[in-house]
């Protein structure tokens, strides 16, 4: 707001030309309000249609009658396992690659450039392509079949570019003074990385994680071909398991009369997403951020 006003050249603030200023103010307000309105509309719609179908037993029961009755118990477990596999793979690989890019390669170096370009291309690839790739590599070639493991690994491939790039930015945001001070104190490079740079880069890691988890939980196309459609309680990560987003898609599109439970499941998904994001902030703050206090 104030930004718009202060950026107006001086001739615009003279009385004669006052109306473009007003117009810009109104437009900016309208755009901002419509964004909030869309959010409120979506959530309101979900709450209005979803809450009547929601209960404690909905969270624990298995779906019945193709999902029209019953709950989402096994589906929540599958979703959790898929996300667990995805994070267990993507966090170490992501943080490692980000460290390499930020701390061990030169800014303009050939290798770093190659890795960054590949990541940028991967970040723009549609999820259906990751789904087909995951199906070809994990499900068929590596023989995992339709399984939670294959789904989680496919999601990891999808989430990695976002995670790496934002963690790398986190590392780059750490002032060079920290590195010089660590060197001056005689810290080894690994000690400086683990004790100072990684905790200081946590904000970048958190942003990457929140974006990545959001993308992973919302994913339908990539999981349809990898973790599959089975709504039974999974016994291991080698079983096929239906993710919440696929359940919502199936109820809304393939099951006549499934829209009530689709709304309820969508509401569960949004609450789950908010809860996981909150937990991510809290954990990262507790484990890493407290070790040092940047700025």
């Amino acid at each position: 707001m104030s930004d718009v006003k202060s950026s107006q050249p001086a001739w615009m603030s003279n009385r004669h030309f006052d109306w473009p200023d007003r117009l810009a103010t109104v437009l900016v307000w309208l755009v901002a309000i419509s964004i909030v309105a869309i959010f409120v509309w979506i959530v309101g719609d979900l709450v209005r249609h979803g809450v009547p179908h929601l209960s404690v037993s909905f969270l624990f029961e298995a779906p019945r009658d193709a999902g029209r009755a019953g709950g989402v118990g096994p589906i929540l477990v599958s979703t959790g396992l898929i996300l667990g596999v995805c994070l267990a793979v993507s966090i170490p690989v992501g943080v490692g690659t980000a460290m390499l890019l930020a701390e061990f390669t030169r800014r303009g170096g050939g290798f770093g450039l190659l890795v960054r370009r590949s990541l940028d291309v991967l970040a723009g690839v549609p999820s259906i392509v990751f789904g087909l790739f995951g199906n070809a590599l994990f499900v068929i070639y590596l023989g995992m079949g339709f399984s939670i493991l294959a789904g989680g690994l496919t999601l990891a491939c999808m989430v990695l570019p976002i995670l790496i790039r934002s963690t790398e930015e986190g590392f780059r945001a750490v002032p060079d003074d920290y590195r010089r001070a660590a060197a001056a104190l005689g810290l080894t490079r690994s000690a400086a990385l683990w004790q100072i740079l990684l905790p200081a880069a946590t904000p970048g890691l958190i942003v990457g994680l929140v974006l990545g988890i959001g993308r992973a939980l919302a994913e339908t196309a990539a999981l349809l071909f990898t973790s599959g459609y089975v709504d039974r309680m999974p016994e291991s990560v080698l079983d096929s398991g239906r993710a919440l987003s696929i359940h919502i898609y199936d109820l809304a599109m393939n099951v006549p009369g499934g829209d009530g439970n689709a709304y309820a499941s969508a509401l569960v998904l949004i609450v789950l997403l908010l809860a996981i994001n909150g937990l991510t902030f809290w954990l990262a703050d507790r484990w890493l951020g407290r070790r040092i206090t940047p700025q």
């Binding site: 193709a66 459609y229 039974r232 809304a252 599109m253 393939n254």
Partner: protein, 280 residues
């Protein structure tokens, strides 16, 4: 001694198993089936087969049936490649697929739908063709009120599109669509939201949606009353079979599951998914 005793124990265990199998076999047909079966294919059939599989698993505790949805074409590819033991297709086998074996477990009809406020009561085959090919563009030329017709067509690869084209002997490029959609539910929502729209969807889905108050109507086509009963009697021309397909010799488990899925034991499940049980 120990060996003999363990052998005896084993024999006893086997005996018990055989007895248990016989007890179950009375309903299942032959001996107890075991193992895992992967079923892939049509997203129209998948919810039904999922329910049938759940009941089958309850009867045969040693069995796990994984149902994956991806489309009829995927079913054909998967059973040929062997990645699935069983496929689901929401149409008949094509000429090029005659080497596969198909068993019909249920039937589904296709019905034309218009908005509830559209006064059209019946359309002749000729009128349907004229509307979908763009020769008739206004409802008043088809016996309705004044209003430009919105033709809602299915995307290529959809089984309902194939059956529609086949029945009216049309080519995909002949149809002049105003809107192209994917699933049945999407078709119903589009037509319910546009008073001048016309589309074709699964008769079971349309009957269910109309009964719960969605703003759609099903006009008669060429004098045929579009009801589930007509599909059941086999009198409805625009019907499609929902098939389970296999390639080559069937495993004992696949055989048992197909027998179960086409038996009267699952008719309530078929009807619960708004399909019509197959009549032998």
């Amino acid at each position: 001694m120990r060996v003999i005793r363990s052998m005896l124990g084993l024999a006893l265990l086997l005996n018990l198993l055989v007895i248990a199998a016989c007890g179950d076999g009375a309903t299942g047909g032959e001996g107890e089936v075991q193992g895992r079966l992967i079923v892939t294919g049509s997203s129209t059939v998948a919810p039904l087969v999922g329910e049938i599989a759940r009941r089958f698993e309850q009867k045969h505790p040693g069995v796990r049936i994984d149902v994956q949805a991806g489309g009829s074409s995927q079913a054909v590819a998967d059973v040929q490649r062997g990645t699935a033991g069983l496929g689901m297709i929401s149409r008949s086998l094509a000429e090029s697929e005659r080497h596969l074996d198909a068993t019909t477990i249920a039937r589904d009809g296709i019905v034309l739908i218009v908005h509830r406020d559209n006064p059209i009561d019946a359309l002749s085959d000729e009128q349907v063709v004229d509307i979908f090919t763009g020769r008739v563009r206004n409802w008043k030329d088809a016996g309705g009120d004044d209003g430009r017709i919105t033709v809602v067509n299915k995307a290529d690869g959809r089984a309902t599109l194939a059956i529609f084209l086949d029945h009216y002997e049309l080519q995909s490029r002949d149809i002049k669509p105003g809107v192209v959609i994917g699933d049945n539910q999407q078709g119903i929502r589009t037509v319910a939201g546009d008073p001048h729209a016309i589309s074709y969807v699964s008769i079971g889905t349309a009957t269910f949606e109309a009964s719960r108050g969605t703003a759609i109507r099903m006009p008669r086509i060429d004098g045929q009353e579009p009801t589930l009963e007509a599909v059941h009697r086999g009198e409805y021309a625009l019907a499609r079979p929902l098939n389970l397909i296999t390639h080559g010799s069937r495993s004992a488990l696949a055989e048992a599951f197909i027998a179960f899925a086409s038996s009267p034991e699952v008719h309530d499940l078929v009807e619960a998914q708004y399909f019509v049980p197959a009549v032998e």
